[in-house]
Amino acid sequence: MNRKSKPQTVGRRHIREDAEAKLKGRLRFLPDLRLDDMLHAAQLSSPLPHARILSLDLEAARALPGVVAVLGPEDIPGENRIGVIIDDQPLLAQGKVRYVGEPMAMVAAESAEAARAAVAAIGFELEELPAIFDLDQVEAQANEPIHEEGPIAVHQKLRKGSVERGFADADVVVEAELVTGLQEHYYLEPQGCIATPGESGGLVIHGSLQCPFYVQRDVSRATGLPQSRVRVIQTPTGGAFGGKEDIPSEFCARAAVLALATGRPVRLLLSRDEDFLSTSKRHPFRIRGRLGATKDGRFTAMEVYQDAEAGAYATLSPPVIYRACIQGAGPYDIPNVKVETRAWYTNQVPNGAFRGFGSPQACFGHERLVDLMAAELGMDPVEIRRINLLREGGETCTGHKLDESVGALETLERAAEASAKGAAEEEAHFEDGRWLFGTGHAAMIYGNCLGKAGWHMDGAGAYLQLHADGSVSCATGLTEFGQGARTVVQQMAAEALGIEPDQVSLMPVDTALVPDSGPTVASRNVVMSGNAILNAAAKLHERLAPLREELGDVSFRKLAGAAYKRNVNLAAEGWWHVPELDFDLKKGRGEAYFAYSFATQSARVAVDRITGNVRVLKVWAAHDVGCAVNPAGVEAQVEGGVAQGLGWALTERFAREGGNILARNLSTYHLPTAIEVPEIETIIVEEPHSQGPFGAKSLGEPVIIPTAAAIAAAVSEAVGAQVSEIPIRPEHVLELLERGGHDSNAL
């Protein structure tokens, strides 16, 4: 490969290629798209959390004016099934409903009002069944199981050494019971799609989505059309955070079935409330853990039991559980580890993919244990992490020996050093006697891409078309939904060919134009697209090499022109897949992922002794990204992730009552505002990985993973007692203040 020794474009700050259109409001999102003759879809949702469906009567609804189609489960031409991994979910409920909001029937009508009226006219009888609402009740499922297969949707184990021996070797053992809450993605643009019957009997789907090839497969399954007849075009997507990984497949499949039944384009668009009430959330976790260490702070054993609430269907619980388990004991070199992770069915909206896939929950677990140990030993929380963090040559908790790219320690040192200065300027404004201050740290490990469990779909492609003027068209199969991925992909393509980024045009993501590159999840876009592009670029360089030799030192533009005239093949296709992993899935032993990102975040907080309120004053986020392809993009990701983590830690209290969600929009679900989000200092650490493009590793999810744990640590330090649950409610803080002897003594 002919790559310049010093990158020209990679590593420089770039303004996002979509920034201007977004800022000026020129980008057209799905709701802006109106096709001729378009119908409006609406869904009948179950009002009960668990019930047998005794009858469904669609006739009255079909007779209403403006109604074109009313379809039930029997009317689905293909399979009435959706689901990426475990086949437990119908497209329309059949026999039973398992959560409030589960779609039972669907309508296409001339207007949204007519569609809603038709939904209201559908007759049905339900026989209510006993329901299971949360992790407290899951063991009781034997009586009336949600699924015949049993109460546990997914179970993953990890074993290293012998924890019995490890605890016997320990001088001190600490244990904790921890709880993490639900979280709503709150992407700005709710779910939406349009299915249009195509000329040759196929379908074109436009949608706000992350994974066009998932949609293609599920639409094919529901309609019976071959995948090649289903063309999926991603519209500019207003945020996703995992919430548009598998979820759009179900809406697209329903719209597709309606489009085939009516022969007209059908739009299915969720209102904010509908979206909030019926789409996936972050899994709440119960974590029980024990950590053993010697007097001088060296960990001898960690044992963690994680129970997660899957909701009514498994959806993406398997990768969430896999990741939570593998990362359950954190970025530490511990000889004896046991982690056991289970996802339980409940009669709630299925919980699914959400930035981090169980890692923020896992991180809260291991980091709380580490802080407890530090407190127990009277040791500085930074020092105890320094002693135990993974180093090159060390072994992860799955026994994966790491030979390169371990930036864990450097992230710790840099975050600790920066945060040691505190946020003195801010603190001067706080009233005397009322506020307590604290700093906390949290470290994390993040396995890059899908890991062993998802290895079979961890490949990605790229097409490069070099034009006669030296510019390049580039098509990759991974998507942009706000991360700034397209800019980085553009930079990497430019770098690979030695041209300026403005000479690279990215194709829109359309399954007819781009290679199937698996899902855009697991922070894999940069690594996968980058490597596929490098692979394609190498082919181009190889084909250009003879001419380069012949023409000597000419510009790339001249070279391309000359090559064009000689009929050199200037279209190259690239492919990369994650190297084979030697991993035992049953025991959780071996190479779980091919590379790991590391980070440490530190947070400084002020705690109000009177109200129990917490204010975050500053966050320092040190991330080992291997290579910061676009440092401005790294900062933007860090800032967004920290804000989202702060919300999960403090303000986003997710209220439910039985099977009903009480909060449903921004007036009752409190996302942090610009006032709550403090200054965030990004510290970039680059420990390149030999398999990463330009050394780059994953970043998109790591940014949220340690935030809540760092805030919890900071609050714990301030109040003198350990936080055990998030969101950290003021009521909980008041109890902790009392326990820590720091109550305001005021009434």
């Binding site: 006032i675 003021p730 009434l747």
Partner: protein, 275 residues
């Protein structure tokens, strides 16, 4: 639906006489609900072009604020300097965009127990003026979302008497976040001390009862006595006792009650005379 924009109070009253017609000011309460969880009414009568409902005037120790004056305009007015508690309430009210639309009349007529302008208006014993009569702000709301206004009755302005020169006042809002949030507890207090004694105490509590209430028992504990730590904690507990909060999506009743006591205790503590 019929939308009208009357220019006079008389026209507005006639338009509102149509059964089911509703008055519209900033729309920040109304338009959130209409077409969503409430049906559109037969008539929407926009009150914003009636001159009497605008402006801020100061006269004879009374300040009069037109009911349709946007909150941000009130905040910018120099007249607000005499009412620091009201200023504080307005600053913590929603965010700038909402304050540019929302009005005082709307906040009063909406009769939310969490309305942020009510506690400060009540410690100043403000009065609303309608076409027909004067109603103490404290009497206006009778239940959550319900007022004693008759059909067609419009709040024209709100009169706030200037407090005694040496009055000290405060407003505190506790909410799930610092902006764009409805209060878990909001409260306002006013005290006047003379010769080492509290001669006037007024305390109003929001979000902790079906309507915003005055904590009379607490006021009585303070009045006629020196402001001491003891008196303050007694009064604060009495105020908490006067509340009848509920558990809701934002906080528990128990937490609300504790917060009344603790916040009042802290705020009043600032005014203990230096000895």
């Amino acid at each position: 639906m019929n939308y009208s924009r009357p220019k006079t109070l008389g026209e507005a009253a006639r338009a509102l006489a149509v059964s089911g017609a509703i008055g519209l000011a900033g729309g920040t309460d109304l338009l959130v609900h209409l077409g969503r969880d409430e049906a559109w009414p037969p008539g929407l009568v926009d009150l914003k072009e009636i001159p009497e409902l605008h402006g801020i005037r100061s006269q004879d120790g009374i300040i009069r604020i037109g009911a349709a004056t946007p909150l941000s305009q009130i905040l910018e007015s120099p007249a607000i300097e005499d009412f620091p508690a009201l200023g504080q309430a307005l600053r913590s009210f929603a965010g700038r965009a909402i304050r540019n639309r929302a009005t005082l009349g709307g906040n009063l007529a909406n009769a939310s127990p969490a309305a942020d302008t009510l506690p400060p208006l009540m410690i100043h014993e403000a009065v609303c003026l309608t076409q027909h009569r004067r109603i103490a702000v404290a009497d206006l709301a009778v239940a959550p979302g319900e007022t004693m206004l008759r059909p067609g009755e419009i709040i024209v302005s709100v009169e706030i008497p200037l407090p005694p020169k040496d009055a000290q006042s405060f407003f505190v809002k506790l909410a799930p976040r610092e902006a764009m949030a409805i209060a878990v507890v909001n409260l306002a207090g006013l005290i006047v001390q003379s010769d080492g004694e509290v001669v006037l105490a007024r305390i109003a509590l929001g979000s902790v009862a079906p309507t915003v209430i005055r904590a009379k028992e607490a006021e009585e504990i303070l009045e006629g006595h020196t402001l001491t730590k003891d008196a303050i904690s007694q009064a604060s507990l009495a105020a908490a006792e006067a509340a009848s909060p509920i558990d809701d999506i934002r906080a528990t009743a128990d937490y609300r009650r504790r917060m009344i006591a603790r916040l009042l205790n802290w705020e009043l503590g600032r005014y203990i005379p230096n000895t």
